[in-house]
Amino acid sequence: MPTVEANQKYLDPQTLAKIEGLELRARRIVEGYVAGLHRSPYQGFSIEFAEHREYAPGDDLRHVDWKVFGRTDKVYLKQYEEETNLLSYLLLDTSESMHYQGERSPLSKLEYAKCIAASLGYLVLQQHDSVGLATFDSQVRSMVRASGQPSHMHQLLHVMEQSQAEKKTSIGPIFHDLAERLKKRAVVVILSDLFDDITSIMTGIKHFKHRRHDVIVFHVIDPDERDFPFVKTTKFRGLEQLPEVVTDPRQLRKAYLKEFEKFTQAISQGCRSQYVDYVPITTDQPLDIALTSYLTRRAAHTF
C-alpha cells in the first residue's frame, strides 16, 4: 500500500503537470486520493438502504415497500434505489480567461479545472454514479449527457481534451440555459474563474437551485491573480477582448487586491446565501481539496 506521502504526490499539481493525458492524471488523482484514505466512510453507501418515507399522494407506487405494508399495513416508500443513482454534471468554463497560467503555477486554470473535472468524473464513475459534462464560454460548446457506464469516461475525456480556451465568458445566460436543460436533479459542479458579472452569475446559480440542483462552485484562480506578485513595469494584455495596460504593478497591487477581494467576497457571499458550496481553489493547491469538497457534498446529498 503506498504511503500517504507518495499518494499526496499524485495529488500535487506539480506532479500532475508532468503526466501527459487527462485520463492518467484523473486516475492518479483518484487512486491517490482513495488509497490515501485510511478508511473510506462512504464505502458501499450507494447500494444500501437509506430510509423509509411515508407515502404521499403523487408518489410513484413502484417505490412502495410492500413488505413493510404487509407487516404494518402502512404505506412506506423505499428511497435508496433512486438516490444512489447520483447524477453529477460538470460545468467546465473554457473561456479565454481560463487559459491564464501564472509563472508559479504548473498548470493553467483550464488545465487544472480539467484535472478536477476528470478526477471527479473518474471518481463518480468508480462509484457507479452518472456524470455528465458541459463546456461553455460565451455559449455551451459541448454537452455530454450523464451516464454511469465506465466507458463514458473516455467520452468525457475526449470532449475535455478537445475543448480549448477561447472567447469571452458569459456565465449567467449559460447557467440559465443549462438549468433548463438539466431535467433531473443533479450535483452541478461549476469549474470556472467566474470572471463575469457577479449578479448574472448569481442569478444563474439561483436558477440551478430553483431546479433543486446541488451546486458546488470550484472557483479556480491562479495564485498570481490572488497575490499579484509583479514587480517590474508590465504590459498586461487583457484576455477576453479587454484592453492592454502598461503600468507599474507595485503601485497598483493594493488597489487590485482590494478589487479582487471584493470580487471573491461577493461570489462567496452570493454562494453562501444560496447554500451553494463555494470552494475557492488556486492552481498550485493539491487536488484533494477539490475531491474532498465534492465528496462532502455527495455525502450530504446522500443523507
Binding site: Y100, K235, F236, V246, R250
Partner: protein
C-alpha cells in the same frame, strides 16, 4: 563665460552638468518603454484598480521624479559653488551698490602687527567687503598714495578679477594724500555709469592706519580743508564714506631722516664729513642703536647712539675718497619693525677738485676771490680742493657751464638774454651762482634779463629766473655802513656766530646797490646792512642756488669817478677768505641735490657733450635695466627717468666708448681737468623715502571730521574673521546638506511607494 555667471558661481563650469538633472525623467521614460509583457485574465479588476489609483500613482511618481531631479540639481549647484553672500539677493528690491575701496598705500602701512603688515590686513578687509557684496554690485579700487592711483577706475562687477586686483596690490614707498584720494573717488564715480541708473549708491571704504601726517587737519590751509569737507559732503549724499582704521596703536619707529655732506661737495682732496640725522618716532628712548656708514656697499664705520623719544640726533662720519667718480653713502640704522626708513642713501659725485669759473667784468674784480679760493695752498704743496678759472665776461658763452661747480659773476656790466638763458639752465641743473655787483653793473639790464617777470608786467616777460632780488638803485651817502646778521639765523653764518671778534660786524660797506626781494619770493636775506637793506640774498633756483651780493668786495669798483675808494673794505678784511669761501660753499652742492631725490621724483641729468647716444640705460634697485630715450637739444642732451617707485640706488649707464673721436676731442679741448667723474659712463642716483611718513602716530579716530564715518567693527587687526568662515555665506555647504536630506527622502519615498502595497 559671462560676467554675471562668474559673479554668481565660483565654478561656473560645473553648470555644464546641468543636463544630468533630466536623467530621472529619461530613466523613467526608458523604464516605461522597457516592460515585460503578460497576458492577464483578471483584467477587469486591474482596470478598476487603475481607474481608482491612477491619480494617486501619477502624483506619487511626479513627487519621486521631482525629488530625484531636485537632488541632481542641488548636487550640480553645490559643485558650482554659488557665491551668494547672504539671503539678500534672493529678495527683490535690493539695489546694486558701487563699492569704492581706497587702500592707504603709504609705507607706514607696512608696519607689521602680529605677523601681518597693516597693508595686508587692509587687503583682507577689502576682500571681505567684496565677498560680502551682492551679485550685481560694482567695485572700484584706489590706492591712496601721494598721487592717488586708480587701480580699478571704472566699476567692475567681476568679483574674481577684482579680488585678484586687490591681491596684486603692493605697498608703495611714499606717503599718502587724502585729498588726492577723494578727488580720485569723485573721478571714479564720474567714470562709473551712474547716470544710467546702475548705481544709485556709492559706498566708499577707506582703509588706513590714520597716520597723523596724512590725516591731521593741522598745517593744512583753509582752502584745502574746505575743499575736503565739501567733497566729503558730496560723497556722503549718495552713499557712505567709511574709514576703517587698521593697525595697532603702539608703534615704534626709528628713521634716518637726512644724510648730507658737511661740505656741499666731495673731493678726493680731503676727508668728507657725512652727517646723518636720526629721529626717534617711538614713545620710549632708544639706547645703543647701531648706526653704520656704508660706502659703495661696504660697511666702513659704525657708531652706537642713544636717541631720546621724539628727538633728532645727528651722527657724523668721516670718509676719504681716493678715487673720483660716483659713490653712494648709506646710513643703516636697522632694528625696528618698519625697515624701509632705517636706511638712507646719499649719492655723491666725488671730484678730484671743485671747478669754479670766475667771470671778471673789470680788471681786478676777481682778485680777492682768487686769493680766497687758492688760499696760497699750492705754495705749501697742499692740493686745493677748488680750482678757479678766470675768464673775461665775453668768454662766458664759450664755456660749457656744466663742467663748473660754481660760477662767480664779478662786477659784470651787463648780460645778454642768451647769457641769462644759459645761467638759468645752469642753475636749474644744479649749478651754483654767486653774483657780485659793482660799479659796472647796469641795473636795468640785470633786472630785465635776470629777473623772473611778474605776471602783471607782460612787457618785461623776457627775463630768466636767475637773480634772487631786484636791483633798485645805487646807494651812497658817504657813510660807512656795517653788516647786520640779525641773530645769525642763516646756516651760512653759523661759524661767525658767537665770535664777535671775527670782524664781520666791523667790515665797512661804503656803497652798495639797494636790493628788493620781490613779494612772495622764496628768496631769503642772509645778511643785512645797518640801513636795513639786504646785503646778501640767497634763492634756490631749480636744483641750484643763486647768491647775490649787493656790494663789491674787491677794489675794482670805485665810489665815483672822483672818489677812487672801493665800495667796501671786505678785500682788506682779515677774515675775507672764510667769508668768500662761505659764499661758494653755500651755492655748490646742487649737483648732489640732482643725484638725490625722493621716491616718485624724476631722475634728470645732462649727458656729457662727449656722449652722442639715443638711449641711456637705467638700472633700478629692483633689477631689470630699462632703456630711456634722451632728448637731444641744440646745445646739450638731457634725459629724464620718471619711474622711481622704490627707494635705492639707480644706476644710469651710457656707453661713452662708442664714439671715441668725441672723447678725444673732449680731451683736447678740456685740457684734462673736467668731467673726470663720468669717464666710466655711469651715474649713480639715490632715491630715498620721504620720512614724513615715518611718523606712525595715528590720529585718534574720534578726531576725524564729521564727513567720515568710522567703522568700529573692523578696527582690531586680530579680529579679522576668516573669509571662509563668516565672510562668504557657505551656500554650497547648505546645498550639500539639502542633497543629503533629499537622498534620505528619496530612499524613503521610493521604499514607501514601492513597498507599502507589498
Amino acid at each position: 563665460m559671462s560676467a554675471w555667471l562668474t559673479s554668481l558661481f565660483a565654478n561656473p563650469w560645473m553648470l555644464l552638468w546641468l543636463p544630468t538633472i533630466a536623467a530621472p525623467l529619461v530613466i523613467h521614460l526608458w523604464y516605461r518603454r522597457k516592460y515585460r509583457e503578460v497576458q492577464w485574465a483578471a483584467m477587469e479588476y486591474l482596470l478598476a484598480a487603475i481607474i481608482k489609483s491612477s491619480r494617486r500613482m501619477r502624483i506619487e511618481q511626479l513627487l519621486l521624479l521631482l525629488v530625484r531631479t531636485l537632488l541632481l540639481l542641488l548636487v550640480v549647484l553645490a559643485l558650482a559653488e554659488p557665491l551668494l553672500r547672504s539671503a539678500t539677493p534672493l529678495l527683490v528690491g535690493e539695489e546694486p551698490t558701487h563699492h569704492i575701496i581706497v587702500i592707504d598705500g603709504s609705507y607706514s602701512m607696512g608696519y607689521p602687527s602680529s605677523g601681518k603688515s597693516a597693508f595686508d590686513v587692509a587687503k583682507e578687509h577689502a576682500k571681505q567687503i567684496v565677498r560680502q557684496g551682492n551679485p550685481g554690485d560694482g567695485y572700484s579700487l584706489i590706492l591712496m598714495v601721494d598721487e592717488a592711483q586708480q587701480v580699478v577706475g571704472q566699476a567692475t562687477v567681476n568679483q574674481e578679477d577684482f579680488l585678484q586686483e586687490i591681491e596684486k596690490l603692493t605697498i608703495r614707498e611714499e606717503g599718502a594724500n587724502v585729498d588726492a584720494a577723494l578727488r580720485a573717488v569723485e573721478e571714479v564715480i564720474a567714470k562709473s555709469p551712474a547716470k544710467s541708473g546702475r548705481w544709485k549708491r556709492h559706498e566708499i571704504s577707506v582703509f588706513s592706519d590714520l597716520a597723523k601726517n596724512t590725516w591731521s587737519r593741522e598745517g593744512k590751509s583753509d582752502a584745502v580743508l574746505r575743499d575736503r569737507d565739501e567733497r566729503l559732503e558730496r560723497l556722503g549724499q549718495n552713499g557712505v564714506v567709511e574709514v576703517v582704521p587698521i593697525g595697532s596703536s603702539e608703534k615704534e619707529n626709528l628713521a634716518v631722516t637726512n644724510v648730507e655732506l658737511a661740505d656741499s661737495l666731495a673731493t678726493t682732496a680731503g676727508p668728507v664729513t657725512i652727517t646723518a640725522v636720526l629721529h626717534n618716532f617711538s614713545d620710549g628712548r632708544i639706547v645703543q642703536q647701531p648706526v653704520a656708514l656704508w660706502v659703495d656697499n661696504h660697511r666702513v664705520d659704525q657708531h652706537l647712539i642713544d636717541i631720546p623719544s621724539g628727538e633728532d640726533v645727528s651722527v657724523s662720519f668721516q670718509h676719504r675718497f681716493h678715487l673720483p667718480g660716483d659713490h653712494v653713502f648709506g646710513i643703516h640704522a636697522d632694528g625696528d619693525l618698519l625697515a624701509i626708513d632705517n636706511r638712507r642713501r646719499l649719492a655723491v659725485p666725488v671730484k678730484e677738485h671743485i671747478n669754479a669759473l670766475l667771470v671778471s667784468g673789470k680788471r681786478g674784480a676777481t682778485l680777492p676771490l682768487q686769493a680766497a679760493l687758492d688760499g696760497g695752498d699750492l705754495s705749501h704743496g697742499i692740493s686745493s680742493e677748488i680750482r678757479p678759472e678766470v675768464v673775461s665776461e665775453s668768454k662766458l658763452l664759450e664755456r660749457d657751464l656744466e663742467n663748473y661747480d660754481c660760477l662767480f659773476l664779478c662786477n659784470v656790466g651787463q648780460l645778454t638774454l642768451q647769457e641769462a638763458q644759459r645761467l638759468s639752465e645752469y642753475l636749474a641743473a644744479g649749478g651754483g651762482l654767486v653774483t657780485i655787483l659793482g660799479d659796472q653793473t647796469v641795473l636795468e639790464q640785470y633786472n630785465r634779463h635776470l629777473l623772473k617777470p611778474k605776471k602783471a608786467q607782460p612787457g618785461e616777460g623776457v627775463g630768466k629766473d636767475v637773480l634772487p632780488a631786484r636791483l633798485e638803485e645805487m646807494v651812497y651817502d658817504d657813510q660807512y655802513h656795517f653788516i647786520d646778521p640779525r641773530g645769525y639765523k642763516h646756516p651760512l653764518l653759523s661759524k661767525w656766530k658767537g665770535n664777535p671778534r671775527t670782524g664781520l660786524l666791523t667790515v665797512p660797506v661804503i656803497k652798495y646797490i639797494r636790493l628788493k626781494v620781490p613779494e612772495a619770493s622764496e628768496a631769503e636775506v642772509v645778511l643785512w646792512l645797518d640801513t636795513g637793506d639786504p646785503l646778501l640774498v640767497l634763492k634756490e633756483v631749480g636744483r641750484g642756488r643763486s647768491l647775490l651780493l649787493a656790494t663789491d668786495p674787491s677794489d675794482s669798483s670805485h665810489i665815483n669817478s672822483d672818489d677812487s675808494r672801493p665800495w667796501s673794505l671786505i678785500a682788506s678784511w682779515l677774515n675775507a677768505q672764510p667769508f668768500l669761501e662761505g659764499l661758494w660753499k653755500e651755492v655748490i652742492g646742487g649737483q648732489i641735490n640732482q643725484r638725490n631725490v625722493l621716491v616718485g621724483e624724476a631722475l634728470t641729468a645732462r649727458l656729457p657733450p662727449s656722449v652722442a647716444l639715443e638711449t641711456i640705460e637705467v638700472s633700478p634697485p629692483d633689477g631689470q635695466a630699462r632703456s630711456q630715450p634722451v632728448n637731444p637739444n641744440s646745445q646739450y642732451t638731457t634725459w629724464a627717468f620718471f619711474e622711481t617707485p622704490v627707494s635705492g640706488v639707480y644706476r644710469v649707464s651710457f656707453d661713452e666708448g662708442r664714439d671715441s673721436s668725441q672723447e678725444n676731442r673732449l680731451a683736447v679741448t678740456d685740457s684734462g681737468t673736467q668731467a673726470t667723474d663720468r669717464k666710466d659712463g655711469t651715474m649713480l642716483f639715490a632715491v630715498n623715502v620721504d620720512t614724513r611718513e615715518s611718523d606712525l602716530k595715528a590720529l585718534n579716530p574720534a578726531d576725524l571730521s564729521e564727513g567720515w564715518n568710522l567703522s568700529g567693527d573692523r578696527e582690531a587687526t586680530g579680529s579679522l574673521q576668516s573669509p571662509t568662515s563668516a565672510a562668504a555665506f557657505p551656500f554650497h555647504a547648505l546645498l550639500l546638506w539639502a542633497v543629503l536630506a533629499l537622498l534620505f527622502t528619496e530612499t524613503f519615498l521610493a521604499w514607501w511607494i514601492g513597498n507599502r502595497f507589498a
